[in-house]
């Protein structure tokens, strides 16, 4: 099957900075694809290359099998939801949503009814006559989504669309976006620096660093089996065990990832369950986070972070504790970078 988006050895430089560096990537049709990475890692440039706002310096880009490089944005059947929504301030919500149709020359009656349907899809029926300035952040977000989707794009690009929303709203929009993507079947390409967002919404996640994809795979894959220290650290902060420490505590002599939530807390000298490895240390920082408590333990010169259920007892700073974790929770990484 033809991929929805294909990058072949694509590079984009700004001055001496390689924003995208020899990138090769396929995004399958109907996928919810997340590009995850710190700022400046090239994920947004990648999105802009698909949209057509940037052109590659080298390499080849295909959208549904057709060559995309050289094509301006207005000749590509992809639409973007911008980070700060980019709604037209001089138009009503209805006119904003119908803008793409107006440009295509769709008759007024048709585009009004299609805009109405699109607004209903994002749960904003009856908002047609309002101005963008009269809407809340979450509502603007929905208008931007409707304005893009009304054009039936082959690929929908979302550039950190939830970044400006507060936590509650963000969680709600995450679920809605996921449901929308499943019901429409359109390929979504989503840029974010929030690993929780990427893991919860996407079918596949690509982790970007310095213009390259360092790992791509299913959310479980990149979370459970990080291939490098960068991924282990960026996708849900992980304990990275040095090869020495790992080999002494039931692992192989490799840089090893150990997720904080896999670690259990016990009293000093408590028995270690079957199949578990253990380490003794001194509790340092303790931070209560509602459902869980995050405890930093200094053990053999290494800082280990454990997130334990909040009910796990009253450990105080300076207490001696024993940590233990299943041996199979330790994942040896190929890459020490």
């Amino acid at each position: 099957m033809t991929p929805a988006v294909r990058f072949q050895n694509v590079s984009r430089r700004f001055g001496t900075v390689r924003a995208v560096d020899n990138l090769t990537l396929d995004i399958a049709e109907g996928e919810f694809f997340a590009m995850l990475g710190p700022s400046g890692s090239g994920k947004t440039t990648c999105l802009r290359l698909i949209a057509g706002f940037e052109q590659p310096d080298e390499g080849h880009i295909e959208i549904f099998g057709e060559t995309a490089e050289g094509l301006p944005p207005y000749k590509r059947n992809v639409n973007t939801v911008f980070q700060d929504y980019a709604l037209f301030p001089h138009m009503s919500v209805g006119e904003n949503v119908a803008y793409g149709l107006m440009i295509k020359g769709v008759s007024r009656a048709d585009r009004e009814s299609q805009a109405k349907d699109a607004l209903a899809m994002v749960k904003l029926s009856g908002f047609e006559a309002r101005r963008a300035a009269q809407l809340s952040g979450g509502q603007r977000q929905r208008v931007a989504l409707a304005r893009a989707l009304v054009n039936n794009p082959k690929v929908l690009l979302l550039d950190e669309p939830l970044g400006a929303l507060d936590l509650k709203l963000r969680e709600q929009m995450q679920e809605e976006l996921k449901a929308l993507q499943q019901s429409l079947g359109i390929t979504f390409v989503f840029v974010t620096h929030d690993q929780g967002e990427a893991l919860s919404m996407a079918n596949r996640v690509a982790i970007f660093n310095e213009g390259r994809i360092v790992q791509a795979g299913s959310p479980e894959d990149v979370y459970e089996r990080p291939r490098s220290r960068f991924v282990a650290d960026f996708v849900g902060s992980s304990n990275v065990l040095a090869p020495d420490f790992a080999s002494r505590h039931g692992g192989t002599r490799c840089w090893t990832s150990l997720r904080p939530e896999k670690i259990a807390l016990a009293a000093p000298a408590a028995p270690v369950p079957e199949g578990h490895a253990s380490a003794d240390g001194t509790a340092d920082l303790i931070s209560y986070q509602g459902p869980v408590t995050r405890i930093t333990v200094m053990s053999e010169g290494l800082r280990l972070v454990a997130t334990v259920p909040a009910t796990a007892g009253s450990v105080k700073q300076g207490d001696r504790v024993r940590l233990h974790w299943p041996r199979r929770a330790m994942f040896a990484m190929e890459d020490s970078a």
């Binding site: 639409n79 980019a86 793409g100």
Partner: protein
């Protein structure tokens, strides 16, 4: 060890005064606004009103004295053929100057707002502003020399074997004349030159406030650059264009120096006012003439508002 008090109750008169003003911010606003309000209210609006009143008096033809009785006969005089021509000529000139300024200023303002950064931006401001710092009269006389029959334009046309073109332009009816400096074309060129900064700056300010991603969003939704210009850029720049056109239009409507120095001998409103209040001593008619630009500008602003030019402000 001395401990600072939590509350200070000391201070001289000035300090106590600022305490009072801090508690009563409206009083502070009033104090700050009173002098300019008196200035605008009494000196400016007052004299404007006196001027308006003058236009409802008339000049006694026989004695040459102003008759202080309210009458509309001066306005009747204003719409006589010869005076109406002055008004019409001035309006056409102001409209042409405004249109030309808008067309020339837009790309310059667009470049400055969207692309110029760092020293390029400083250079832009300098290039636009420096002509405003030099004397208005010097600039106009300089233009007179440039446009004169012995001037650089004629010389260049000769050097490029384009004298026939210059002659053809000067042979045009109405706008032509014996030389560029004695034609409407010359007057028009000088007006465009001296007023254009007043058009560039407001448009640049308006475009500066248009976020770049609106242009991208428009392209993303399928609009080619022409469509983006018509449907996004132009409507958002319109308040700036209207603001600039208020300057260029009203400045041209009232100017009496440019057409005096560069142009043919036909009067514009400003010159008519100057002549009437000076040599002719016909203050009522001069006042009636000055009401015309005010009425036109009022009408223009009203229509601009009706057309939604200020909706995005």
């Amino acid at each position: 060890m001395s401990v600072a008090a939590a509350v200070e109750r000391t201070g001289g008169f000035i300090e106590r005064l600022s305490d009072v003003l801090f508690r009563r911010p409206r009083m502070l606003t009033l104090l700050l606004l009173l002098p300019p309000l008196i200035w605008i209210g009494v000196v400016y609006v007052g004299s404007l009103f006196a001027l308006l009143l003058q236009s409802f008096y008339k000049l006694d033809d026989f004695s040459g004295l102003v008759v202080h009785e309210l009458t509309l006969s001066t306005y009747a005089e204003l719409i006589e053929e010869a005076h109406l021509q002055v008004i019409l000529r001035t309006i056409v000139m102001s409209t042409m100057v405004t249109l030309a300024c808008a067309i020339i200023a837009f790309p310059i303002a667009y470049y400055a707002a969207r692309y110029a950064r760092g020293w390029m931006k400083a250079a832009f401001y300098l290039a636009v502003m420096t002509p405003l710092w030099s004397s208005y009269l010097v600039k106009i006389y300089a233009w007179k020399l440039i446009l004169a029959k012995e001037g650089i334009i004629t010389w260049m046309a000769e050097s490029l074997y384009l004298s026939w073109l210059l002659e053809a332009i000067l042979a045009l009816p109405v706008v032509g004349g014996p030389s560029l400096s004695f034609s409407y074309i010359g007057t028009f060129l000088v007006f465009v030159y001296i007023w254009i900064p007043y058009m560039i700056l407001p448009i640049q300010a308006a475009l500066e406030r248009v976020p770049g991603n609106l242009i991208e969003a428009s392209a993303d939704l399928g609009a080619d650059p022409g469509q983006t210009f018509r449907t996004v850029l132009l409507p958002l720049a319109l308040p700036g264009i209207v603001a600039g056109s208020i300057f260029t239009f009203s400045l041209t409507l009232g100017d009496y120096i440019v057409p005096q120095i560069v142009g043919n001998s036909r009067l514009m409103i400003g010159q008519a006012v100057y002549t009437l209040q000076g040599t002719a001593g016909n203050i009522p008619l001069a006042a009636a003439f000055t009401v015309v630009p005010m009425a036109i500008m009022g009408l223009y602003l009203f229509m601009a508002k009706r057309m939604g030019a200020f909706d995005v402000l």
